[in-house]
Amino acid sequence: MTDIAAAPTNVRTIELANGAVQVESGGSGPGLLLLHHDIGPIGWGPFHRALAEHFTVFAPDMPGFGESPRADWARHPRDLATMMLALARRAGLREYTLVGLGFGGWVTAEMAAFASPELSALVLSAPAGMRPDSTFILDQVMEEPVAYLRAGFSSTEAFDAHFPDAKDKDLRVQLERSRETIARVSWKPYMYSYELPETLKEAQVPTTIVWGEKDAVIPSECADLFAAALPYCTVRRLPVAGHYIELEHPALLAGIVREAFEAATRKR
């Protein structure tokens, strides 16, 4: 797994009325909420550290992932979005930058549809949530869990560098737990919503969509679908990146987030 940051972070559990959420936070500067992929949180890594140089980063384990208990009642990413909005409010975040990775991008998009006035900028890295027109989102139910994880990298070498021990029991347990949570909230339609293209039309927040052109998990054609729905949207395509842009290109993605924040601030 990715190494743990040397810089101190704060790990705490925030008790919401409908579930507890563990949050790791660190850095300084404007507030930023970061939501992880469907594989679950994989630690405070280079991407977090790069963000923490400019932001106060809050990285929760969404309910049912990592160290956060499952919200048994949740049936849709929108349910997780309501919890993440509540979490941000409890954490005191105001006009914050919201960053979502993959499945976490879908949750953040749902948040933006509900509460865009609370956000200063939205950055979606290869978000789920849109139904691609010409192909399919890779179905993790049909994939061996580690093979699914591997599919998110641009190359086998990149996967091996990040996960040298794919047989690690803790990793497998985490993937299994994450897989079950996904099965509870996104069984069908799998990883997309027919409503999101409509609800996003009122997400009045400057948005940057980032997509790796080697993404084998969520087709990059979905970038255009998000762009068509979101009123203020910029698309950045990265020719060499896979699905896990933050793992393979942490500084690059962190730079894009910072640019998005600065551009949004200038426009205000």
């Binding site: 139910v141 869990p145 897989r179 079950e180 996904i182 099965a183 509870r184 069984w187």
Partner: protein, 421 residues
């Protein structure tokens, strides 16, 4: 003693890549139905009906059907269709469904109607079993696996209400909501047909069956863990205010009888040589574990003593390899397969009955690569020499079936009451 006959009704195409004895691993859940030959299937469906009819003639009390989906090892992927036909073409034997996929069917009321119709057409000969299904079933019909157990229980409650209470009524459950429940067909048997529950590994299912006083049928499990599971059932029954006995316990055994010991052994070995079947220990079938053990489908911590069997785990995707271990020889040694002349199989059967003490025994035969002739020879010898002796043993060993002693109350059933049960 209730004696049933079972086969998976395999799709037998010796030319197919998934047909056994190839010494190759045969991975289930990747096969394409592009290999399906409807002419072969036509002949096989009708062959299996002929065998069920003959089993009834030979004195079997029950004709057991199951269902599995998207696989050649069970052709009866909608067992209610086969049960409907049996309801019309048989006259005496019970039709035992083990069973319908409560958690996978999207509308339990449809299921309640189908089963009520079969019960009426058969004049009250249906035994309705419920199963949760393995990964293949959820996958084949896209049933959301983390809610399998919740859906199972709610569907059960809805169906029982549909069968037993006058409609119309409204149902507002967590997983099912229906505005108007009032199917015209109601069960022939009152208050409803007997319910049996098969199982292998899940403690939850056994516990649920025991609480509901439903007979629990262990399918293809080793003798000792089966006995231990029945003991768990007995304790749960005690905790719930009743005394369980053999009438509550079912045991499935692979049994082939033939004219000589050599022919019996040679033929019984074909059990393991048909289409890839990961539920058939020693068969070369493998599964992709992550497809059989879909996320949240079953509790991996709340398991029965049958967890000791690697074959049980593999078939359900709970081993890392998905390969079903075991050999014909291994299974012969532990009486997982019993094969021989009537005289020889009876010795082994007697020992199994003494050890496991079931009131229901399901005889699994005519499967894998066995031919129609193989099945018919065995059925004939069972009828003439084996079944009568099993009934004698059951009397000697005090192993009443659920039509002799009521599984719910322990009361002895006599006359019309027994036949109606």
């Amino acid at each position: 003693m209730f004696i049933g006959h079972f086969t998976e009704r395999p799709y037998q195409d010796p030319k197919a890549s998934f047909f056994g004895a190839s010494k190759e691993e045969l991975t289930d859940l990747v096969l394409s139905n592009g290999d399906y030959d409807s002419n072969i299937a036509h002949d096989l469906y009708n062959r299996y009906f002929d065998e069920k009819l003959f089993a009834e003639q030979m004195g079997f009390d029950g004709l057991m059907l199951n269902e599995h989906h998207s696989t050649p090892f069970t052709m009866g992927s909608v067992c209610n269709i086969e049960a409907s036909i049996l309801a019309r073409i048989t006259t005496r034997a019970k039709i035992v469904l083990l069973g319908n996929l409560l958690a996978v069917r999207s509308d339990p009321v449809f299921l309640a109607e189908e089963l009520a119709m079969i019960d009426v057409i058969s004049k009250g000969r249906l035994i309705s079993g419920w199963v949760r299904g393995t990964g293949r079933e959820s996958l084949s019909h896209n049933a959301q696996t983390p809610f399998n157990w919740e859906r199972f229980q709610e569907a059960h409650d809805l169906i029982i209400k549909t069968w037993t209470e006058p409609g119309p009524f409204r149902w507002e459950g967590r997983h099912h909501q229906l505005r108007y429940v009032n199917p015209w067909a109601k069960p022939y048997q009152k208050p409803h047909m007997p319910v049996w529950v098969p199982g292998v590994l899940s403690y939850n299912t056994l516990e649920w069956a025991a609480r509901h006083r439903y007979p629990y049928i262990m399918t293809a499990t080793d003798e000792e863990p089966t006995r231990q599971c029945f003991e768990i059932y007995r304790k749960i029954a005690n905790d719930n205010g009743y005394e369980a006995g053999p009438q509550n316990y079912g045991y499935m055994v692979k049994l082939h009888v033939d004219e000589t010991q050599e022919l019996a052994e040679e033929t019984a070995e074909k059990l393991l040589q048909g289409p890839s079947n990961p539920f058939l220990e020693g068969n070369q079938g493998t599964v992709k574990p992550w497809l059989q053990a879909l996320p949240g489908l079953t509790s991996k911590v709340n398991m029965l003593p049958t967890i000791a069997s690697r074959a049980n785990l593999a078939g359900r995707g709970l081993s890392t390899t998905g390969f079903t271990p075991g050999s014909y020889k291994d299974q012969r040694a532990k009486r997982g397969i019993i094969a021989g002349t009537p005289k020889n199989v009876l010795k082994e059967l007697r020992a199994a009955l003494e050890n496991v003490r079931p009131g229901i025994i399901m005889i699994w035969d005519g499967d894998g690569a066995m031919t129609h002739d193989d099945s018919m020879r065995s059925l004939r010898l069972m009828g003439s020499e084996v079944l009568p002796m099993i009934r004698e043993y059951a009397k000697e060993l005090d192993l009443p079936g659920p039509f002799e002693v009521d599984p719910a109350s322990g009361a002895t059933l006599v006359g019309a009451e027994a036949s109606a049960k």
